[in-house]
Symmetry: C2
Subunit: 336 residues, 2 copies
């Protein structure tokens, strides 16, 4: 069974290959009658245009690449899934690649995608990342970890964290600890700023007392780091230790929950905890984690939309807002 090509369709429909092609591409200048007839034949023959031949002529591959640091990270896997969905709605498919937060691997992946002639790239830049050598002519949109000087799409981490900390303030907390991300990470710094914003607004940053009892612990975004950061913040006399902790990631928050648990500190009775990200896992902890949820689907959809508009991101970064997802790890503080 010889595979059916565009001329088989043309022959059977009694038209030229050109017409068939035009039908295929929804070119306006085709009679409705012809369009219908050709479509019928296509159906009947089960004809499928060859994407290679197509892309060779038209310079469009209907393929978009996405490069993320680690697919095992639930935030990124949801991002990829959402991107796949969004792309599919436009007839596009997704090639995934992992950079493992390695700048040279990332460069290599970008090269691969470029030579693959994808129509665009969604990039979550690796952390140890310095200069981005962008193949010009290829639309690329930076996502989640915005780079200074580049535009892109991300959640508004700063205002999101502020939202979360303000939630704690509203509950009556004053000694609010903060588990920060790695200091060389852009989003980590944005989140830190959000914390400082909220603390300042609450009047907790003016006095000198904070200096005596540091409430900020730096840590990687993972579970174990969150745990040790939590230990650090909590291993002090009761009247000195924070009554609430905001963690820069849900994984940190969960690690911190464990630290509190190990220290015999009940949650939320003696300690409120808020995380950041809104990964599915957050609703599976005991008790359920209160967290600031990133609009992952919206980010992915926006990224795809930008790529398909073939403009790259135009001006400034596009920041989407987070919302708080209330769990069971927050309550008003106990009286001392």
């Amino acid at each position: 069974m010889p595979k059916v090509g565009i001329r088989d369709v043309a022959k059977l429909a009694g038209v030229s290959t050109g017409t068939v092609s035009r039908v295929l591409n929804d070119h306006p200048s085709v009679t409705d009658e012809l369009r219908v007839r050709v479509r019928g034949i296509i159906e009947q023959l089960g004809y499928m245009p060859d994407p290679s031949a197509r892309s060779m002529r038209s310079k469009v591959s209907r393929l978009i690449g996405i490069i993320i640091p680690d697919l095992t990270n639930p935030f990124f896997s949801e991002l990829v899934q959402s991107a796949e969905q969004a792309a599919a709605r436009h007839g596009y498919n997704i090639i995934v690649m992992t950079s493992f937060d390695h700048a040279d691997k990332e460069a290599d992946r970008i090269g691969q995608l470029t030579s693959r002639k994808v129509d665009g790239i969604i990039l979550v830049p690796s952390n140890d990342f310095h200069t981005l050598k962008l193949p010009k002519g290829l639309p690329i949109v930076i996502v989640d970890r915005l780079l200074p000087g580049y535009s892109g799409i991300a959640a508004n981490h700063r205002s999101g964290v502020r939202l979360g900390v303000e939630h704690l303030v509203k509950l009556g907390h004053r000694r609010i600890g903060f588990i920060s991300g790695p200091k060389d990470s852009i989003p980590a710094n944005d989140r830190l700023k959000g914390y400082l914003d909220a603390m300042e607004a609450a009047g907790e940053l003016t006095g000198g007392k904070q200096n005596a009892v540091p409430l900020i612990a730096e840590a990687a975004f993972d579970y174990e780091s969150g745990r040790s950061a939590g230990n650090y913040l909590l291993a002090r006399a009761r009247h000195e230790r924070p009554t609430a902790i905001f963690a820069s990631s849900d994984q940190q928050a969960i690690g911190c929950m464990r630290a509190a648990h190990d220290l015999g500190i009940p949650i939320p009775a003696a300690l409120s905890i808020v995380g950041f990200d809104g990964i599915p896992l957050a609703s599976m902890t005991i008790p359920r984690l209160t967290t600031v949820k990133q609009p992952i689907q919206e980010i992915a959809a926006a990224a795809v939309a930008v790529l398909l508009s073939r403009e790259g991101v135009t001006g400034k970064p596009l920041l989407l807002s987070c919302e708080i997802s209330e769990g069971e790890t927050t309550s008003s503080p106990q009286p001392d």
Copy 2:
């Protein structure tokens, strides 16, 4: 800057396009001297062969598709990541697609990949899946959820579960409950068989007493279902309820942990729990979950290898063995 093509390379190297092509494809019949020279020019010009043109002639796209039910499931995201790694080692890239456990979506995805002319498909069949219409000529390898009548690659769920249950038996448990997967799921049934194997070997299946107190609860694989199944198994008088529970997934196990927690049953003091899968989350619970770990990387690597051998899976399913990952949710049972 006009893009550089194969003839630019040929011209500058003073050879024919044919020779350049042969160098590109590591064709053996090229002088080392020429090979080196051409490679040099290629480098110098930054030439990248156009994959569309290439694939159009050669019928090879160096693309492989992978269809999974849900990328949000950590098991599958790790599978995809491993597959991407394995494929990359062979110069292949991966197109991901999600079926959401929907048979017709799955069929559609297979169609898309077929028309994309991928070189092979890795498929985790959707659950409500009946007949698989395989485009012949396109190598496809079924993974994880083996279909009766088809060959494929998966962990040996049956022996894996048996391993886990035997572990509990060795610790001294006799009333071992089992949270099963959905009854229409192949792997769920395999796992159930593993449980029955082990229980029979332990002499716990011969008496009639099991009938009076059913120790098996059917549930979906997710967290919430595991929780209600756990509630069902544990909501009885102490001397009747299981001293240990084996759950068919880690998520179920974690749900079950929550159920036990809510009932005031301490783990592992009054209840041992073992999960199945070995997802990263398993080591993040309090206490850390003991689980049977599937060899995900090996599965992915084997799947890619099979595809690249262009044979499809030849004979019987290939079953890889699991290993137990000891956490803190298992101990010897308390005396009644």
